[in-house]
């Protein structure tokens, strides 16, 4: 099989040649820097395999770099970490009349999320139910996406490097497409006036469904009106859109593991007479068990924050915590501390899952 030379290789080679040439121009054997190299403090041996020894870092420069890093730390703390800290701090506050709120140290907002406002007289699990829907949608969407993505990533990694590149561009473009546009597309596809329900009616599929009696089943699970099928609002439409949203992510997360699978293993299985499907089931799938679980967890975390798809496709009684977070922070109910508390609950759930996925990834690395 001949793989065409990959596009960037010439560019890389050019850059390398240029660098080497410049280096040769600058070669000055008499310079003291080479001597200074020996006395320069050696950095810690790079845990990442960084070629520390190759660098002749004079102490003053190293020191300056550390200073720059401290300045950078301030920026990162201010921009990336302080928002999370603020959410936590505000979640402990109390709301005043109107939209105003005060700092505080009360757990009342959390109590309201978990057991309702009237605790301990009576318990209400409105927000817990919403969290439940968040978890259910996210879990379903992630699992379905990974289930469809695994064979896709498998089939993709069997192609030539160039074909893989084309598929990657396709996937990345669809992956980066805004949730807003994806929802718009499915909204058109699932809307009652055009799209699939119309196609069902026009092609006679609806009549056929009625004839075989499956229509009643659809009506029972809320996917049809007496006249025709109806896909939104429904859990089906929500989960469909969510798994659509993360399908390309799932492929891209599984791609490294599958493209690094040792071909020798598969060759061995094939020469021993295993059928292609058996190879996937008995060699590839077990070898990718941990990446698969890790990918599912990551996508689950991502889907916990889904907003647009849920507002558009989920029935109001089956909406998630993200909707009420928005309502509390900027929408109708305006209770920032309470919204922050809900966000914290979502955050803790996400962090726990991320921790689990990191642990899985570590285990996978240790094993390989």
């Amino acid at each position: 099989m001949s793989t065409p030379p990959h596009a960037p290789a010439p560019a890389q080679a050019r850059a390398q040649a240029r660098a080497a040439a410049q280096q040769a121009d600058r070669a000055d054997p008499g310079a003291g820097a080479a001597g200074a190299d020996l006395s320069a403090p050696r950095g810690r041996p790079g845990a990442t395999g960084a070629p520390v020894d190759a660098r002749p870092g004079a102490p003053s420069r190293g020191l300056r770099f550390v200073h720059a890093q401290y300045a950078l730390a301030l920026v990162v703390a201010g921009l990336c970490l302080s928002p999370f800290a603020l959410v936590f701090a505000i979640s402990l506050g109390e709301v005043e009349a109107g939209a105003a709120w005060n700092w505080g140290v009360s757990a009342a907002n959390y109590a309201r999320v978990f057991v309702g406002l009237d605790w301990p007289e009576s318990a209400s699990f409105v927000y817990m139910r919403k969290l439940g829907w968040s978890l259910a949608y996210a879990a379903l969407g992630a699992v379905i996406a990974v289930a469809f993505a695994f064979p896709f990533a498998w089939a993709m990694t069997r192609r030539s490097r160039r074909a893989q590149t084309v598929w990657l561009v396709f996937l990345l473009s669809s992956l980066s497409l805004s949730e807003v546009f994806v929802v718009m597309g499915w909204d058109v596809l699932l809307s009652n006036r055009s799209g699939l329900p119309m196609a069902f009616r026009e092609t006679g599929l609806t009549d056929w469904l009625k004839a075989v009696g499956w229509f009643d089943v659809l009506r029972e699970i809320g996917l049809a009106t007496p006249r025709n099928v109806r896909f939104k609002p429904s859990v089906f439409a929500t989960v469909l859109t969510l798994s659509y949203l993360v399908f390309p992510y799932a492929v891209i997360l599984l791609y490294p593991a599958l493209s690094r699978l040792d071909p020798a293993m598969m060759e061995a299985a094939r020469t021993m007479g295993a059928r292609p499907f058996t190879v996937i089931r008995t060699v590839a799938l077990p070898a990718c068990r941990l990446p698969i679980a890790g990918a599912a967890l990551l996508l689950f975390v991502y889907l916990l924050g889904a907003y647009v798809a849920v507002t558009v496709f989920a029935d109001p009684s089956r909406q998630t915590l993200t909707i009420t977070i928005y309502e509390s922070v900027r929408g109708a109910t305006l209770n920032a501390p309470f919204g922050a508390a809900q966000a914290m609950v979502l955050l803790v759930t996400a962090v726990a899952c991320l921790g689990a996925s990191l642990a899985l990834a570590k285990r996978a690395e240790r094993r390989s």
């Binding site: 959410v87 996937l171 718009m184 907003y307 966000a343």
Partner: protein
């Protein structure tokens, strides 16, 4: 007696199911991925005000409306572009020193910086959006374009951080050794070896951040004010009145931008490598 393995007609070099089933499955998934996108694109041709599929009395008026005549959309598009380009540049500028620090020697500070920069991207964006909303209220910047740029840069810095780190790992060690023994200072090595060899990766990271910022919705939703809106925000705000074909034009513009950006990354960078393929295998 041990049964002999079934003889195969021929053993291919890649004895894996790459055949018809694989192709069919790939094609089927491609249709699934493309379907809603194509439907949106086709809806842009509608002559009327509603999103019908298949489109009714097709026209290209909506394109003129979106790009030229309708003030709401042209302003939103300009704002989206400004935010995307500046935040991607800022994210790349933030990510470079962090990635370099990590590569240079993973001190505790470098590691903390890397983790801090990657955190917003790894956690549900709605939580980060809520936090940024609070932050900009305190800073007095809520609803400004600057706030949106800074927010997107913080959210997407993880992408250039990842691509630049991959690029730095691919720098030829032999070149560094050669340069060092020939007496090049760290600055010279950086300028003549590290920088040229990592440019494709830097550009890739920039484009990743750019495209994602262009399409970002939820964080913008929390840091914006009614005074301005980006294209995605404008579409969401019009959601209550239903989608119109003009928005579908927006979708087309966005998809083309993504394809162009990732096409550039694929042309000038090593996309399979960036996505984690084994660099040794071609």
């Amino acid at each position: 007696m041990i049964p002999a393995p079934r003889p195969r007609a021929r053993i291919r070099l890649r004895p894996t199911p790459g055949g018809v089933a694989g192709w069919l499955y790939l094609a089927w998934c491609a249709v699934f991925v493309a379907a809603p996108i194509l439907v949106v694109c086709a809806s842009a041709l509608n002559g009327g005000r509603s999103m019908l599929f298949p489109p009714q009395d097709p026209t290209l008026d909506r394109f003129v409306e979106f790009f030229v005549t309708d003030e709401v959309w042209t302003r939103a598009l300009r704002l989206s572009a400004i935010i995307a380009v500046s935040s991607a540049a800022l994210a790349t500028a933030l990510a470079w020193p962090v990635a370099y620090g990590l590569w240079r020697g993973a001190s505790r500070l470098s590691k903390a910086l890397g983790a801090g920069l990657a955190m917003p991207f790894a956690l549900p964006p709605i939580v980060f959006g809520v936090g940024l909303g609070f932050l900009w209220v305190f800073a007095g910047l809520i609803g400004t374009v600057e706030a949106a740029i800074l927010s997107h840069a913080a959210l997407h810095a993880a992408l250039p951080l990842a691509t630049i780190s991959i690029g730095l790992q691919s720098v030829e060690r032999a070149h560094l050794d050669a340069a060092a023994t020939l007496g090049a200072t760290e600055r010279v090595i950086f300028r003549t070896i590290i920088l040229p060899q990592t440019i494709p990766y830097t550009a890739s990271g920039f484009f990743f951040a750019l495209v994602l910022s262009f399409n970002e919705f939820i964080v913008t939703f929390f840091v914006s004010a009614s005074a301005y809106s980006t294209v995605t925000l404008q579409i969401f705000n019009s959601l209550r009145n239903g989608f119109t074909p003009t928005m579908a034009v927006g979708a087309i513009a966005f998809i083309l931008t993504s394809v162009l950006a990732f096409g550039l990354v694929a042309r000038f960078g090593d996309l399979p490598r960036l996505m984690g393929a084994d660099p040794a295998r071609r």
